[in-house]
Symmetry: C2
Subunit: 500 residues, 2 copies
Amino acid sequence: MESKLKQLKTLLGEVADLRAVSALLGWDQQTYMPPGGAEDRGNHLATIDQLAHVKFTSDEVGKLLDELEPWAAMLAPDSDDARLIKVTRREYDKNTKVPAEMVAEFAQITTSAYSVWQEAKAENNFAKFQPYLEKVVDWRRRYAALFAPYDHVYDPLLDDFEPGMKTAEVKAIFEVLRPQQVALIQAISKRPQVDDAFLHQPFDEKKQWDFGVEVITKFGYDWNRGRQDKTVHPFTSNFGINDVRITTRFIPDYFSSGLFSTTHETGHALYEQGIDQALGRTPLAAGASMALHESQSRMWENLVGRSRPFWEGFYPRLQEYFPAQLGNVSLDTFYKGINRVEPSLIRIEADEATYNLHIMLRLETEISLMEGRLEVKDLPEVWNTRMQEYLGLTPPDDAHGVLQDVHWSSGLMGYFSTYALGNLVSAQLWERINADIPDLTGQIRRGEFSALLGWLREKVHRHGAKLEPQELVQRVTGSKIDPAPYVRYLKSKYGEIYGL
Amino acid sequence: MESKLKQLKTLLGEVADLRAVSALLGWDQQTYMPPGGAEDRGNHLATIDQLAHVKFTSDEVGKLLDELEPWAAMLAPDSDDARLIKVTRREYDKNTKVPAEMVAEFAQITTSAYSVWQEAKAENNFAKFQPYLEKVVDWRRRYAALFAPYDHVYDPLLDDFEPGMKTAEVKAIFEVLRPQQVALIQAISKRPQVDDAFLHQPFDEKKQWDFGVEVITKFGYDWNRGRQDKTVHPFTSNFGINDVRITTRFIPDYFSSGLFSTTHETGHALYEQGIDQALGRTPLAAGASMALHESQSRMWENLVGRSRPFWEGFYPRLQEYFPAQLGNVSLDTFYKGINRVEPSLIRIEADEATYNLHIMLRLETEISLMEGRLEVKDLPEVWNTRMQEYLGLTPPDDAHGVLQDVHWSSGLMGYFSTYALGNLVSAQLWERINADIPDLTGQIRRGEFSALLGWLREKVHRHGAKLEPQELVQRVTGSKIDPAPYVRYLKSKYGEIYGL
């Protein structure tokens, strides 16, 4: 069996290489590739992705899994090898279940849908996008059917991003969360608004970059195994555990954008840099799920980076970088300004308190579409009604409403909830961390993050994708994903800021 | 046959993608990869290179070639498709002839040889390197034997870099060249030396970069299909005809290094950017040979970039960049300084007049090793004797002699002569260009390079690898590679500079 396992690992190593190469092609495309390279880059990606798919879904992998599973069943269930077999089986079954024709059809549908969506958004014309979105939804329903039987038709979609998690669980979580977030926002809206005008001044880009680097270096980002570059849309990408790169972007006359994007991506990168080296070049060298990944980015961005103790430590330093802009802005004003809550139409501009409501709207809509209880043509109306209900706003047009996100046009359904779940998990972990590290607040104030990072490494990062998300959260916090800590966090933080 | 051809092109396109990806992995490794990424990068490269090799040498490619060859024989011999079949066959046979065990053995031998060479060079200890070099030579002799019958045992090695060219041809060329270059250098050595002290001052790196960019933009380097980055060892790399990148490096207190490295790499890049788009993603999307490639880099570096008319145009501009360093240096002094001839021990530091002699020494040595007329243990003595004969110098130690180059430790034999042949071809083309563009000198003086680039595109670049090097030179100049134009060029240029 040792030699079979070695064979499997060799194959999986080659698949990991191909996926890493694909990621590098994407990274280069968004950082340094000259415009002329675009067409050939499409060919490179198609060839590499196809090779990775063929190699991973080969009969050879299937046969090795069949042979190794009885042996793996006798290993300690938490051992690397047992988990490797289990996770590889899960991914193998998922990847082999979709017929090649359906994969090809998906590529066709989404290529058209994406380009039509761009036009439809620019022209503010939902009707134009509607038939393409209908095809996406139809494809996704047929996709889900491949995984029958299931408890809920949305389960197979969710499972692509949150292995093992059920739609019923997510719905239950959000049922608890929604009324409390709505109530909080309504309470905030009745209080005097905090000032954030000082954030909208010219902030020298080089200084923004340098301050960000200073912060994330303190966080523990390992520059020997990573780097930072500029892109239009920030992202984190890895080409192995020891080459985890982040990108960022700056808005010259708005301070928050660059720094919080940098700290957000650093959260993702710290996760990937923290995976056990023994899991390298296997399917386990990844985050446990999108929500877990997002819990790490949100933690460093918000629970650390937008916290009062963090700025008690770093604000004097930031004022040294920007004396003209911030010399006369008090710490309290600054802290409140970067945490200003304001319901808005656009998800990606939303603050911590309103963000989850944008997500719930999308999740509910996706579920209804999959259940067949909502037709695509009725989407704009449902969207606008819910926006009013949750955030008290009505989009002036579909471009600022149902057409705003790229996801559906790319065929992505089942993804949105992971953003909100990430927020919840971040707060749930945070309560545990504070219990385990009583001096955490003081450490953050002093710019010391090694105990925090050490805790995350030990409890979360090093395990990679060995554990399913609910399993991991349960082990670390004693319960599955629970909205209560996030609600407590929001109430406490914004209660203080807005004097509720 | 159309569908067979399409099948072949699909396969070759995938091979081209894999090779492009391999090149990108290498580019990233030398430009931006963090140190921690090195080990995984080795895995990425091994996986991709192996896939490219397996795909290219597959029975499927062989069978398609067998089927297509009779059909291709009826096409116009210069047609893209006829040439594609011919060149693919040549490469296929070369690649399939070497048994897998020998390929693996080569990797083992050169991995050890390279690391021992680094130590031996640092310790100035040829004896340490000797057994490893013996293995390399032994392997190369067995390699050559795979291609028997041949006119000369060195032919198969040369053919890897100069398709179709014979050792006898190269020897004949160098027999003519050597005495004339030796005589020229002896004549120069009796004249007063020109001054180049002004080149050794602090030159701001950013300004060096900007001036270089200004120059190569005028040359016609297409930034939409390329970019420039910094590396320790400059190189040109392409990931398709429309993404051809150069790298450069600067020495802060020596002006010539950065600029002439930049113009050299630009010569390579202009060649690759100029290949006919119709040849993209095929084995024809490459230079005709290493010598032809080098003819382009040397032309832009030396025949253009180190010429008097070029500086008549650009020197005032350079003085604006560096008024403190060059404000009081006359054009004549500057021109002579950047063309200073001085026999030296190290090939990569050699000037135009002495460079080829370094190459001849290496070529003759390689040929003797392959013929078995020279043993590795006797190399240092032969090396030092020839250095005295050709350049009037004796290395103080082997580190500055026979151990200086990386090539042999990497298993590269047959390569060196391409550098010198490139010089010869550049001058041979140059005479033809001057005949076809009578105003070339005036254009260069005015910073106009479009007629020159247009000529090169039409006569050389667009053909890619369709023609063998001797075939191409014959067609363009009316004769095969001929040392006479280069000798005329050297005598004329250095006769004027040194008043011979």
